[in-house]
């Protein structure tokens, strides 16, 4: 089954991911791609606390993710890949063809696009560029919600 969800979420590992998506997908591993978290032992411990003991968490830098992507995509288990932002990963791992925008919250310069998606104009443009390159980009916070096409929220 391999990676069942490629998710952009600035909270990275949290309840909506582990329970909301993890349970219905029967996910047994999470790949967290983030250079800062990869370099911080205590942050890794913190994120691991939110995950059941039978679910593996793999922490990777963007560069490591690019090297390991093929093995995760052919892993017999079901996994979820999480990133804070998709652009760098797609640059390094072009074999990623889909992204779920799951949670991008308010900060200075961002405006509300959906209840759970706030983007700057530049961030919105980058998502449209990904879509133009053939990456399927939709916004969906939980599995029971409809997937909203990138053109409808950017």
């Amino acid at each position: 089954m391999s990676l069942a969800l490629y998710r952009i979420d600035d909270r990275l590992i949290h309840g909506q991911v582990v329970v909301g998506w993890g349970q219905p997908l029967h996910c047994t591993f999470i790949v967290l791609v983030d250079d800062e978290v990869r370099a911080s032992d205590w942050e890794q411990d913190l994120y691991r606390m939110g995950v059941p003991p039978d679910m593996e968490v793999i922490f990777a830098s963007v560069a490591e993710a690019a090297r390991q992507m093929a093995s995760w995509q052919t892993d017999p288990r079901v996994g979820i890949l999480l990133v804070d932002t998709a652009v760098a990963l797609v640059e390094h791992a072009p074999q990623v063809h889909t992204f779920n925008v799951g949670g991008v919250h308010h900060r200075a310069g961002r405006t509300e696009r959906l209840r759970f998606v706030y983007l700057t104009d530049d961030e919105a443009a980058k998502l449209r560029q990904l879509a133009a390159r053939g990456v399927e980009v939709t916004a969906q916070d939980v599995p029971t919600a409809p997937a909203i096409p990138v053109g409808d929220f950017t």
Partner: protein, 128 residues
């Protein structure tokens, strides 16, 4: 406790859990002002950190987090790492808060241990 500021409890939760717990403690004990609710609703990391900062203020505090993982916990632990006199407890329940509001004359770490003990003892499987 040497600090003159009263020990504050800050409940950090998903949705409106924190507000509901604060209301319940007030109804049961008549004590107001010991607990402050913080919700992560609509918050990214930066916004939740701001809410925590505002809720804690300058005094010592115990942060009561709903789940032992996720955005409420990660933000709370980050906050505790950057500030003195902050302790973090996960798995908040009403029983631990009821105990906490009557035992705030100790340091945050001791209050957190006591609250966790009280909360844990309240979890039981009762006979039908």
């Amino acid at each position: 406790m040497s600090d003159s500021s009263p020990l504050r409890g800050v409940i950090v939760s998903h949705a409106a859990v924190a507000q509901a717990l604060v209301s319940a403690v007030s109804v049961i004990t008549g004590i107001d002002g010991a607990l402050t609710p913080v919700s992560n609703e609509g918050c990214g990391t930066d916004a939740l950190a701001e809410r925590l900062n505002k809720a804690v203020g300058s005094g010592p505090a115990v942060l009561f987090v709903d789940l032992p993982g996720g955005s409420c916990l990660t933000s709370s632990v980050r906050y505790a790492k950057q500030h003195a006199d902050i302790a973090v407890v996960t798995g908040v329940n009403l029983a631990m808060l009821l105990d906490f509001v009557f035992h705030r004359d100790v340091a945050p770490a001791e209050a957190a241990r006591r609250a966790a003990d009280a909360g844990g003892k309240a979890i039981r499987v009762t006979a039908a």
